[in-house]
């Protein structure tokens, strides 16, 4: 079976991202060796550096795929309701449920900001889950569901709260129970901003 160069490139990149995602999740960025990644992906260091330029470049590509995946799930879940409040709750819950997964958690929340820097991390996040959150809040405020408050500030507070919630949940023995506790606490938290 013959393959075009573009297809071939695409394939090796995807394979490398897959393998790296697993490695970064298991051992963390610092302890994952490029040598091991390429070996397991069935290519050589040449392919990796040709396609991603550096270890950071590879990580950024992995992070992007993680964020995109989560973003899609959040949006899909939120779209299940017509009510703005319900959408917000559903979206938040979907984010926490997705991010807590082993193949996402560490890359997204622990190594992400440290490896590529918080500013870059935030820029990338902005194009995925955070943008949806901000737009949702903006809309809710414009339609009078939310008290007057800085949407930027609120967005970051909620985002930060959820990120930490994810890490906490993943450390507790009973994920289901802690997820329910977070869910209840998040609902009350949002009540503070509610007007109708």
């Amino acid at each position: 079976m013959k393959m075009s160069k573009a297809e071939q490139k695409q394939q090796t990149m995807q394979k490398l991202i897959e393998v790296a995602r697993e490695m970064f999740s298991r051992q963390g960025y610092a302890d994952a060796a490029m040598e091991d990644i390429v070996k397991q992906a069935g290519v050589t260091r040449g392919a990796l550096y040709h396609n991603f330029g550096s270890k950071e470049g590879l990580f950024e590509a992995v992070l992007a795929s993680v964020q995109q995946e989560i973003g899609e799930r959040v949006e899909a879940e939120a779209a299940k309701s017509e009510d703005l409040w319900q959408q917000l709750i559903l979206g938040c819950l979907a984010f926490v449920s997705s991010a807590v997964e082993h193949r996402n958690k560490r890359i997204l929340l622990i190594d992400g900001p440290s490896v590529i820097g918080w500013e870059t991390w935030r820029r990338m996040d902005e194009e995925n889950s955070m943008r949806h959150l901000r737009e949702q809040l903006q809309m809710m405020q414009e339609q009078g569901y939310l008290r007057p408050v800085s949407i930027d500030a609120l967005t970051h507070l909620l985002s930060g709260a959820m990120n930490e919630a994810v890490l906490w949940i993943s450390e507790t023995p009973d994920h289901e129970k802690s997820l329910e506790e977070i869910s209840a606490a998040m609902t009350l938290l949002l009540e503070g901003y509610r007007t109708k």
Copy 2:
């Protein structure tokens, strides 16, 4: 002037921690070379490895001093009021104001969890700012100031919200303005849990 071994050890350790704190803040953990740290501290690699065992060991010592410093400021600020609600607000504000400082932010919030792992990071945090927060919330709930909600979950939500707030504030051009916005948003956020 002669020095006892204990005094000498104390002095070199403190000097190394000081220098490392600056380096880790400026360049981040990964880009700070041990060689440069010991050079600037006026000792050799021998001293560093003798006292801290590894690069991670040094970082952990630096992080501990950061956390302790912030913890003390939070406690001192909260103690300025008798009212439990006021104490909570003052403490939160003190945490954000302290953590946002350049010599604290990156070590505490960005590199911390990644370098030593989130579990260890949380254990260390527990002995400083987070413990105070939890105890405060516990007390408030017992005295009927707070709705029934999992204190563990709430503690982490608040802690995470504040951590992200710190990072956001430090990126905005006008720190003072964004701190006020966060302050207002935090107050509303807490309102959701208030009963009296």
